[in-house]
């Protein structure tokens, strides 16, 4: 196929863009150059990543676009990247959201533009690198490195309580991931391998698996986040700038789900089966509890943040049911949530930029002044609720179909989440958009500008695309997921 290292180019192109930006001296006149440089870099990365999709071989269940170099001489650590059906869409999601984030911060980031764009480009490299890693240490390095730009983004450009939120975000997720480091080293000690590809299967004793599983769980459950480890998320979301929330909800949460599929299911199948009831319980609690909490929120961003936890609960249910429908549903739900929550946060950003308030009670009757905005918001909101025809429906439906094979209690839990999400989302919509304008300040509010339309319309299209043509997304990933499921079933049938 291709002779040049496409995947490495995609991973490190943002760093190249960052280097160029680093050389631009920031002042009044050059800050727009910095923005353009960042935008073009991220767009370039996006188009290259589409090339991955085009050239992706659907019938192949193993890694493609592999590149492998010896990295550490004394340990079996390689620079080993490659993608399969599971990581393909995660990478495309990251590259898709980054240019939108940069575009959305075009006006609202007024100071330290250079550092901001640098942070985003670094973040993009780390995110893509993480999803593309086949070597566990490489994965870990990218996984933790993500914290650094995110910490800076929340801390510098965030809201009033940004310092508290950034520290909480950083330390909470660091605490989870350091335990994973220990688990990685234990894996290396037991097998002498550091390759995710080779370690797929049943390499460990059941007792060992249980300890390793707990260590991985600590890091991914914080990241995804599962109840009761979710408390960092509302703070981080509320205080982060709009683009920060978008990346946080759109991609960073997916790292947890991705990790569960790769490590917990792929490497530790026995322990995953052992802990399945725990995951189901936590997920159902998360879905019902955080949905109710979301219902009580007065801050729009916080409401969306809690809804993320609930949606991720459906994802974890889908992952740990380990059957074809549920796992595909979990993957689609992750992609869908990446797009929908990103769109919702961007929508909140639109009115926040105009009014500098996120209070629900501040707004009312927006539909009178902002018809296009209201339409866009309605579509993504319905995507979040899971209306047929939108992306959310596919994910939730598949997970529920999968859950029927396991237990009807889980089905009730997951379905109640969908019901509750409709309640809090539509209630939000009613309060913010319908009715008459009570607040005088809203009289002068303007509808979407061209830049905002450019940002939101691709997201709306993506929501509808996944909803109407789900096979486009399910087919590439189904073979890779099948591999994991077969492996899981063989091990647990014994």
């Amino acid at each position: 196929m291709i002779s040049w290292p496409l995947l490495s180019v995609i991973i490190f192109l943002p760093l190249f863009g960052a280097l160029i930006i680093l050389l631009i001296k920031e002042d009044e006149n050059t800050s727009s150059n910095i923005r353009w440089a960042a935008l073009w870099t991220s767009l370039g990365v996006f188009f290259l990543s589409l090339l991955l999709w085009v050239q992706f071989d659907y019938s192949n269940s193993t890694y493609q676009f592999e590149e492998k170099f010896k990295w550490f001489e004394d340990i079996n650590i390689y620079y080993h990247v490659g993608i399969d059906g599971i990581s393909l869409f995660m990478i495309i999601l990251s590259t898709f959201l980054t240019p939108l984030c940069i575009l959305s911060s075009w006006r609202c980031i007024k100071f330290r533009v250079k550092e901001y764009m640098l942070a985003f480009l670094f973040l993009e490299t780390f995110m893509i690198g993480m999803f593309a890693s086949i070597d566990i240490l490489l994965f870990y390095i990218f996984f933790e490195a993500v914290l650094i730009p995110m910490y800076i983004i929340i801390g510098i450009w965030g809201g009033e309580r940004r310092i508290y939120a950034s520290f909480k975000f950083f330390l909470y997720t660091l605490l989870g991931s350091v335990l994973m480091l220990i688990a990685i080293i234990v894996i290396y000690k037991l097998t002498g391998l550091m390759s995710i590809e080779l370690l797929q299967g049943n390499y460990f004793q059941k007792n060992t698996q249980i300890f390793l599983w707990i260590a991985f769980f600590a890091s991914f459950a914080v990241k995804i986040p599962m109840w009761p480890f979710h408390t960092w998320l509302p703070d981080a979301h509320v205080e982060a700038p709009t683009a920060g929330s978008v990346i946080l909800a759109g991609v960073l949460l997916k790292m947890g789900g991705y990790g569960f599929i790769r490590f917990s299911l792929g490497m530790l199948p026995e322990a995953s089966a052992y802990f399945m009831p725990l995951i189901m319980t936590l997920s159902i609690i998360a879905i019902i509890y955080t949905s109710l909490v979301a219902l009580a929120q007065t801050d729009i961003k916080k409401l969306i943040a809690y809804s993320s936890v609930a949606h991720m609960g459906i994802v974890t249910i889908g992952i740990f049911l380990v059957n074809q429908q549920a796992l595909e549903g979990a993957m689609i739900q992750m992609i869908s949530h990446g797009i929908v929550s990103a769109a919702l946060f961007l929508c909140v950003g639109v009115i926040y930029d105009r009014m500098h308030s996120r209070e629900i009670s501040f707004y009312s009757g927006l539909v009178n002044k902002m018809p296009i905005y209201s339409t866009v918001f309605m579509i993504v909101l319905l995507g979040s609720v899971g209306l047929p025809g939108t992306s959310g429906f596919i994910g939730e439906f598949l997970v529920i179909v999968g859950a029927f094979k396991y237990s009807s209690i889980v089905v009730i839990g997951a379905a109640s989440g969908i019901l509750l999400s409709a309640v809090y989302m539509l209630y939000l919509y009613k309060r913010v958009f319908f009715g008459i304008i009570n607040n005088e300040k809203l009289n002068s509010i303007l509808d979407l500008s061209i830049r905002e339309k450019i940002i939101l319309i691709p997201l709306v299209l993506a929501v509808l695309l996944i909803g109407l043509l789900p096979n486009l997304f399910i087919e590439p990933m189904s073979r890779s997921l099948e591999l994991i499921i077969i492996n899981y079933e063989i091990v647990n049938a014994k």
Binding site: D74, L137, F142, A145, L174, I185
Partner: protein
Amino acid sequence: MLNNFFSILLVPEICLSIFCIANLLYGLFLKKNSFRKTSNFAIIILLFVSILIFVGFKTDLAFFDLFFKSSNFIRFFKILVCLGAASVLIISKNYFIDLKISKFEIPTLILFATLGMLIMIGANNLMIMYLSIELQSLSLYVLASINKNSIYSAESGVKYFILGALSSGILLYGFSLVYGFTGTTSFEEIKIVLSQQTDLSLGIIFGLVFILVGLAFKISAVPFHMWTPDIYEGAPTSVTAFFAIVPKISAVALIFRLCLEPFENFSNEWSQIIFFLSISSMFLGSIAAIAQSSLKRLLAYSSIGHIGYVLIALVANNDQSIKSASIYMFIYMIMNISIFAILLSLKKSNMYLEKISDLVGISKSNPITSLCLAIIMFSMAGLPPFIGFFGKFYIFIAAIESELYFLSIMGVLASVIAAYYYLRIIKVMYFDVSEKNESFDFVISFHSKILLLVLILIITFFIIYPSLLINYTSILRIT
């Protein structure tokens, strides 16, 4: 015969001691600029000696009945000591001149201290070891109080002297107990004598404990760390830089050698002590640093914490431990030199920075300096992709290899706590908004700028080609 005579001069220690005296005389006869010239001379000497060590001429004749010993582990740490001392001289030259304490004795004292450390690392006999520790310590006591106009500097010198003397006394008592119960002071013979005993007599156990306590003072492991923050704070920052880097490296080498050579067969006994020292250092280092407002005190606690991690490798006591400890100390040295290089050249309204809160607003006025500081802080916190992560990674590999799961989990937990205070410095630099618009001066000499640049590049890009250091440290053996 003549040949042998000249080859004696190629022994690094002998060469260095001759140059020490030469440097002293050189300084005495200089009228003007004596400090600048002697310190340049001292830097050249140290680099020359490190090349001598690196080349490693065969000099068996100079070993004086196995009083000294050489192995690639010893040579590696000797090189680290020499390079560390040279770097400290490079980065602190301007500071001494600025503080008007530019005496030519300073480079000479640093040379003598370095000489003491080289002998100490290579010592193969308790007597030699003790004498070299004293040579090192006496030079350091004087260095701590070199700023005689400052009451804090004098205080730190006296404090250092009293506690150092106490620890030396304890160490000497331990040596005498070991001598009394084994009848020898040579490392090899102690090992032979001890290997014939199935269970240790009480006297030797006491001796071992006293020796470890004395050495714990030197590496400032908790609970023998009390002197560190006070002395770091009181001494002039450039001297603090020396204290934080060079004696720590040599003392770590010493504690490794002592535990793994003469007392090798009794790892059950000493590993309990080291285990406790390690956990308590990691936790006290990270928890106590949270409350600090002074930068130098913070660095003192941070160095205590780092020592805790190195000791994990010693507890592990397997074929990975030498490698991981060497890597860790190398990384520790790099990070500390670079952070002190910045602290020694950064001034705010004509005053050197003392408090963490002084850093407010630096990211606006000196973006590159603050970026460097931020990189060092992330690296010290052990976050990938910076070099500090790999230090910790190798330490934990060694620990897991010996199935020290509890210790490694404690280690990572402590590193999360420690991350808090490193992040706090970044927070002060980047997140806090200053009301006043104070200007920072970053006055740095050409040489230390180059040094800083190289070190920052190593910290950031080590990840791309780690094999150079890894391969070199993989072959290190203690005997």
